[in-house]
């Protein structure tokens, strides 16, 4: 089930096939790196060899998630015998060479390259969102840039495109490294951005230079995470949130998703994979939010609703032999993925679960159930969602997301913006004491927590569905369904249902088959399989729009890489393994809400009003 690469050969990652033996003749090559003799693997790039040997080379267009572009020329090194300098990232070593990484020629060339990049960059560092976290800034420092040798842009030349709810494009900051282009076309296969025109007139543009809100953008924000400068950033609502906090008539409620807690520490200098749940709660309360709730609670609610929906579909398919039932059921928690399928496969929308995402469920629950319980007029409640996600900003602004009678979620806030607000409030997050979430949504299960990593929804759903059907816990060591975990693009697994309860006897002996995919490129592949009929016999598919799932979301701290995403996932799984309740249906708050509010049970009438939604057939043609 490996994904076939759609990009042309010239744009694919540079790979030299592995030699049969790692030590045999031809497998290892002697090179001299700054006078040090080394043996390196055949086909490794100079950049990789340098990184392995602690030789630092500045890079800009290089990103380990993306294919090699070799266009920024920052990583130039001298290879003895070659007339010109070579780009280290795009030079596979296939013969014995002598490399110099900081000779006079190299340093001069790098400085000139940096100067040339700066001559096109409207560098207003103090007012830039990426101040102190900008790769161009770092390179200017490292290359010893001390004057604008080739001039400097002093006036903005482009209009800022802030049409999108999620992503803002400021082309004055763009240095044409094309990371966003490769992210959008190769990594996500959405294809919003490309370079248009030629030579000096080149710029990164959308289709016919339309505003981002009008083109087929899924708002995943992956381009933001990979932009080396501030050319792409998220639409920041923090000013309005501060205003709501200052307003005494407003009751400001924050809900926090699991992924930001595992990543926000990075914004405060902590290593990736440091969980900050308790400290974050304290910070949010000290900043003046009235309540802080755990989105994991509605993640549990999502599992109940989505699991019930799956069982209903299975029943219709197996018992009623209904031909119109769409299986496999696709998850709908990832707003990027939802918009992706709305655009690219609108005819397949029936496969999508109708359950809202946890964020939107919480919005609806807060402005109905909580408002009633707490005796607050829902019009005075402002709900803010701390999410790892840029697409959540779009999702909360969808016109249909007002089932409480008001806008369910007022603002979507990314991890980066939360960190900015915490800094504005003068709080040192790592030093804060830990506090718990507020009641009445203070408890959540571990199943809700692992929503943050790819495979988490599937794992949580299986724990609940299997137990509902058989009355026994899912047959995996310590409830850890390891087949769902890890960073493989498309994962596949199955569980056999045996000795089912009487009411689920129609599922006796059924082998539940499921697929987990992350990143819309993999999602695209799964959809192609669905169209070809290769998903016959599968029951449930989890899809997350971002690579790695929410922990790699478009609102997470920059930089991102597979290692960072793995560390964040590890933090989530580690926290989860110590949770007292690890199954959604055992969460006491879930039982409480179904007993006291959604009294007709999961999938009931009130659930359908508040917790389910409909999708828009958007299509991929722009008028």
């Amino acid at each position: 089930m490996e994904k076939e690469l759609r990009s042309p050969v010239a744009q694919r990652p540079m790979n030299v096939e592995d030699p049969v033996s790692k030590t045999g003749i031809g497998a290892q090559i002697s090179v001299e790196l700054n006078g040090v003799k080394l043996k390196v693997d055949m086909g490794k790039s100079i950049l990789d060899v340098c990184r392995d040997n602690n030789v630092y080379i500045p890079t800009l267009c290089y990103h380990e998630d993306l294919c090699i572009a070799g266009n920024c020329r920052m990583c130039m090194v001298e290879v003895e015998g070659m007339r010109t300098l070579q780009a280290a990232c795009a030079f596979p070593i296939t013969s014995p060479i002598k490399i110099k990484t900081f000779s006079d020629k190299v340093r001069k060339a790098r400085k000139h390259t940096a100067d040339l990049l700066l001559s096109e960059h409207y560098g207003e560092c103090y007012s830039c969102v990426r101040n102190n976290n900008c790769e161009l800034q770092t390179i200017a420092r490292e290359c010893g840039v001390d004057s604008y040798e080739f001039g400097h842009v002093c006036e903005p030349r482009f209009e800022i495109d802030s049409s999108s709810h999620a992503v803002i494009r400021d082309m004055d900051k763009c240095i044409l490294c094309r990371r966003c282009v490769r992210t959008c076309i190769d990594l996500q296969e959405v294809g919003v951005l490309e370079a248009i025109n030629r030579g000096y007139d080149t710029k990164i543009s959308t289709f016919m230079d339309k505003p981002l809100a009008d083109v087929i953008c899924i708002n995943c924000g992956q381009c933001i995470n990979r932009c080396p400068t501030g050319a792409l950033h998220a639409n920041d609502p923090s000013d309005e949130i501060w205003k709501a906090i200052e307003d005494p008539t407003k009751h400001v409620v924050m809900q926090t998703a699991p992924s930001p807690r595992a990543a926000i520490g990075e914004e405060f200098g902590l290593p990736a994979g440091t969980s900050m749940t308790g400290q974050l709660n304290t910070a949010i309360k000290r900043m003046g939010f009235d309540m802080v709730f755990d989105t994991n609670f509605t993640a549990d609610l999502t599992i109940m609703e989505e699991g019930t929906e799956l069982l209903n579909r299975l029943k219709k398919a197996l018992v009623d032999k209904d031909e119109n039932v769409k299986l496999p059921q696709f998850t709908s928690c990832s707003p990027g993925w939802v918009k992706f399928i709305e655009h690219f496969y609108p005819e397949k929308l029936d496969y999508l679960s109708t359950a809202k995402s946890p964020q939107q469920m919480f919005g609806a629950v807060i402005k109905t159930f909580y408002a009633k319980e707490a005796g607050i007029d829902p019009k005075d409640i402002v709900t803010v969602a701390l999410m790892p996600c840029a697409a959540k900003k779009f999702e909360c602004n969808r016109p249909e997301m007002n089932s409480s009678g008001y806008k369910d979620v007022d603002y979507g806030l990314t991890t980066r913006e939360m960190a900015k607000m915490i800094r504005e409030a003068g709080l040192k997050l790592p030093d804060l004491p830990k506090t718990n979430f507020d009641e009445p949504f203070g408890d959540a299960s571990g199943a809700g927590l692992i929503f943050g990593a790819t495979g988490g929804v599937m794992e949580a759903a299986l724990r609940t569905v299997y137990e509902l059907v058989t009355g026994r816990p899912v047959p995996f060591e310590g409830l850890n369904i390891d087949v769902c975990r890890g960073m493989k693009g498309i994962k596949e697994a199955k569980v056999k249902l045996e000795n089912c309860k009487d009411e689920f006897s129609y599922l006796e002996g059924v082998e539940l088959k499921f697929i987990v995919a992350h990143g819309t490129a993999n999602a695209n592949h799964v959809m192609k399989m669905l169209i070809k009929g290769e998903l016959e016999g599968y029951h449930f598919v989890e899809i997350m729009a971002c690579p790695g799932g929410c922990i790699g979301g478009g609102g997470q701290p920059i930089p991102t890489s597979e290692l960072i995403r793995k560390l964040r996932a590890k933090a989530i799984y580690a926290e989860e393994s110590t949770m007292p309740v690890r199954k959604s249906h055992e969460n006491p708050r879930i039982k409480f809400i179904y007993n006291n509010f959604l009294t007709d049970g999961p999938g009931g009438k009130l659930s359908h009003e508040l917790l389910h939604t409909e999708y828009v057939k958007r299509g991929k043609y722009i008028e």
């Binding site: 759609r6 042309p8 076309i185 959405v190 294809g191 919003v192 951005l193 490309e194 370079a195 248009i196 025109n197 030629r198 543009s205 959308t206 289709f207 016919m208 083109v215 087929i216 991929k620 043609y621 722009i622």
Partner: protein
């Protein structure tokens, strides 16, 4: 664009793709054919091409914007290109350019109001030995003077 226009283009592009294949390498020939027929490649056609070749519309747009002879917006019925290469400039292309511009009352990269002529610069026709040269639609005119150039564009319909 009206629905009929869209349908006509869908059909035309469908035929082209059938003839030339739906691989990326067919992109340029397809775009050239569309341009030949409709004089420019409109938004809808770009999206249809992208859809049929299984690439993204913005990639088609990127290719069109890269090539000077492909257009994504309507142009005049006749396109007059003046070479701005240094050899042509030595032989007086600037004067010709000014004369044409004054005669038509438009700047370069603009089209006359009646849609008769679009003026453009081009980088080099490879006709330096017979400079200055201008290209009117597909026909190259060598060693033109101001007078012949003006005569040529007055004849354009």
């Amino acid at each position: 664009m009206c629905e009929t226009g869209k349908l006509l283009r869908n059909e035309f592009i469908g035929e082209l793709v059938k003839k030339m294949g739906n691989e990326r390498k067919s992109l340029l020939p397809i775009l050239q054919e569309i341009q030949k027929k409709y004089h420019y490649i409109d938004e809808h056609s770009q999206q249809v091409v992208a859809d049929l070749l299984n690439i993204h519309p913005v990639e088609v747009n990127s290719v069109i914007s890269f090539y000077a002879f492909l257009y994504d917006a309507p142009r005049g019925r006749n396109i007059v290109r003046v070479c701005k290469n240094i050899v042509c400039e030595f032989h007086g292309s600037k004067g010709i350019a000014k004369a044409l511009s004054d005669e038509l009352g438009i700047e370069f990269d603009q089209t006359t109001e009646d849609g008769r002529v679009t003026l453009e610069y081009a980088n080099c026709f490879g006709m330096c030995d017979k400079s200055p040269s201008i290209l009117i639609n597909d026909k190259i005119h060598e060693k033109v003077s101001k007078e012949t150039a003006l005569k040529l564009i007055r004849e354009l319909k």
